[in-house]
């Protein structure tokens, strides 16, 4: 199986503090993995580092057989890596459709028909966006904004989709909707890294999971195994159970 992404000994820090300590993992094409763990564990730091927002202190990241070396985020998008950031980072006074078109900014020379096809695929995946296509992003609900962020990321037809806490601040019903979309993308063969606090939910989508705590991987394995590990369930997967209570 060819590896799409290989991360070895990645260490990232802010000033004197180390946020991630020699993290290593790899990801095959078509695989969907998740990083779970409490707030401040270094999950967002990992994605920001892979995206090029932060530079690592040491370690290597190899994408499609080539080492990534300090490229800016926009250059990584060109290589096929996209991030749906936790804070969504939308443009408040641009419309939904503007966001989607800008998501494909690097492919702007593509024919009108090709763009329309991709746009149509996104609207089919996220039908709410079609209804709201003319609405300004700043006036959308949290769930709709999350959908815009996902749709915008997909517009560049990425090789690797990274999602940072897509359930943040959303009502359970909306979270479910977002995760259904993610699950559908996975079943269609999208390669992805999902970062979540809501472990049960994350492990229901991903095939493999890594549990990280204060910058270190403390457990890793197939999603099914992680879900059955009583010790992990008690320590890290409680969030999922709480969530279930709220949902009922």
């Amino acid at each position: 199986m060819t590896k799409l992404l290989e991360v070895s000994d990645l260490t990232v820090g802010y000033g004197n503090a180390v946020a991630l300590e020699s993290i290593s993992f790899d990801l095959a094409r078509g695989e969907f993995i998740t990083f779970i763990g409490p707030n401040g564990a270094g999950k967002t730091t990992l994605l920001n580092c892979l995206m090029g927002v932060l530079s690592p202190r040491s370690g290597t990241v190899v994408f499609e057989g080539r080492a990534l070396n300090g490229e800016a985020p926009e250059a990584r998008v060109a290589k096929g890596i996209v991030l749906v950031p936790e804070r969504r980072e939308l443009f408040p006074s641009l419309s939904v459709e503007d966001h989607l078109r800008l998501g494909a900014f690097l492919k702007r020379r593509r024919s009108r028909e090709a763009t329309a096809t991709v746009l149509d695929r996104i609207y089919t995946l996220l039908p709410k966006l079609r209804e709201r296509r003319r609405q300004l992003a700043g006036t959308l609900s949290g769930g709709e904004q999350q959908m815009v962020a996902v749709g915008r990321a997909l517009m560049s037809e990425p090789q690797l989709l990274m999602l940072d806490e897509p359930s943040t601040g959303l009502a359970p019903r909306i979270t479910e909707e977002i995760f259904d979309t993610i699950d559908r993308l996975r079943s269609e063969g999208m390669t992805g890294i999902l970062v979540e606090q809501n472990a049960n939910l994350a492990l229901s989508v991903a095939s493999r999971g890594y549990v990280i705590e204060v910058g270190n991987v403390v457990a890793a394995g197939a999603a099914r195994e992680l879900r059955q590990d009583p010790r992990l369930m008690a320590a890290y997967l409680g969030a999922g159970d709480r969530y279930r209570d709220i949902a009922i």
Binding site: V53, P73, E74, L83, E89, L90, F91, R101, L102, R152
Partner: protein
């Protein structure tokens, strides 16, 4: 009554000239977070380049342009080791641009083009200087704080003014208006130049509006202004977006200078004052709001002509005094919004 009407027309004309400048300031600030004190220098460069072209002299701004292009090649020197092909291509491109600029200036002089065409040539020579200055001052430190950029832009303003003095000397240059004469509009005599200013200013603003709203690159520029990180996540090269903002801002300011020059005669230090007046207007919109910035410059234009008529010695004092109530008002508004 007639006096009031005359002042109104005059104030509006001035306001429109400053409007182009305020537009430049808002555009630059929103996309790059640079409060560009040096924005007025493009006004000077535009005006003096046009004066040169119209009076048959080789435009001095070409020296600045060629020098800047050469400096770009020097700054790119480190690339020769790792990627000599790319570096060679870049150097060749810069050389081609320099030759192109000289040829354009010489050609325009030889053909003795009409005023409007000369304005276009001057625009092509001055606007790229904006990109060069962006390359030298902002591009190397994209994450610097606003105050650092302010200090840098003051330095740029001083340097460009110094270079202007070196190239053009201290003497003022008269510039012919696009159209001389005027017409009686009711009781008021309106010079044709005022109509030209109106048309050009509206066309420039309309052009910027259409570009921002109806092209993907324009939307990308807006996106970079609204959320830099979000724009990067879309694959928008934000550094290039900043360069584009500087290019457009330099173009608008140069146009402003070419329209203004016939009214006040051009000289090497005209830019700073005009730049500050554009800033006073732009401050009304907090340097981020185009409509309020336009309202602001119209007030500046109106106040300037009125005070020139009633108390000419205090003209600039009154205009800059406008900044104080403006800032107080913005502060109060912001507090009200925060609540």
């Amino acid at each position: 009554m007639d006096t009031a009407l005359f002042l109104l027309v005059d104030g509006l004309t001035n306001g429109l000239v400053y409007a182009l400048l305020a537009l430049s300031l808002v555009l630059t600030f929103t996309v790059t977070r640079v409060v560009n004190i040096a924005q007025g220098e493009y006004v000077m460069l535009g005006a003096l380049t046009l004066a040169d072209l119209l009076q048959g002299r080789f435009p001095g701004s070409v020296y600045l342009l060629v020098g800047g292009l050469a400096l770009c090649v020097v700054l790119d020197a480190r690339r020769w080791r790792s990627d000599w092909k790319g570096a060679l291509l870049f150097a060749a491109g810069m050389l081609l641009a320099a030759v192109g600029a000289v040829a354009l200036a010489k050609g325009a002089l030889a053909l003795q083009l009409p005023v409007v065409a000369m304005m276009l040539v001057a625009l092509l020579l001055v606007a790229p200087i904006g990109v060069l200055i962006y390359r030298f001052t902002v591009h190397p430190i994209p994450d610097a704080s606003t105050i650092v950029f302010v200090i840098i832009s003051v330095g740029v303003s001083m340097s460009v003014q110094g270079l202007g003095l070196l190239i053009w000397g201290a003497s003022p240059y008269p510039v012919d208006p696009v159209a001389s004469g005027g017409t009686l509009l009711g009781p008021v005599f309106v010079p044709y130049q005022s109509f030209v200013i109106l048309v050009v200013a509206l066309a420039s603003m309309g052009g910027l509006y259409l570009f921002s709203e109806y092209t993907l690159v324009g939307k990308a520029l807006q996106a970079s202004a609204m959320n830099r990180l979000g724009a990067q996540f879309c694959g928008i090269p934000v550094a290039k977006a900043g360069g584009l903002a500087f290019l457009l801002a330099a173009a608008f300011s140069a146009i402003s200078g070419m329209l203004l020059a016939p009214l006040i005669t051009a000289n090497y230090e005209m830019g700073f004052m005009v730049g500050l007046k554009g800033f006073v207007g732009g401050a009304m919109g907090g340097l981020i709001d185009y409509p309020f910035a336009l309202l602001g410059v119209m007030m500046v234009g109106g106040l300037e002509t009125t005070s020139a008529y009633l108390a000419s010695a205090y003209r600039d004092v009154l205009v800059f005094g406008l900044l104080i109530p403006t800032l107080l008002w913005r502060n109060a508004r912001q507090r009200a919004e925060a609540r």
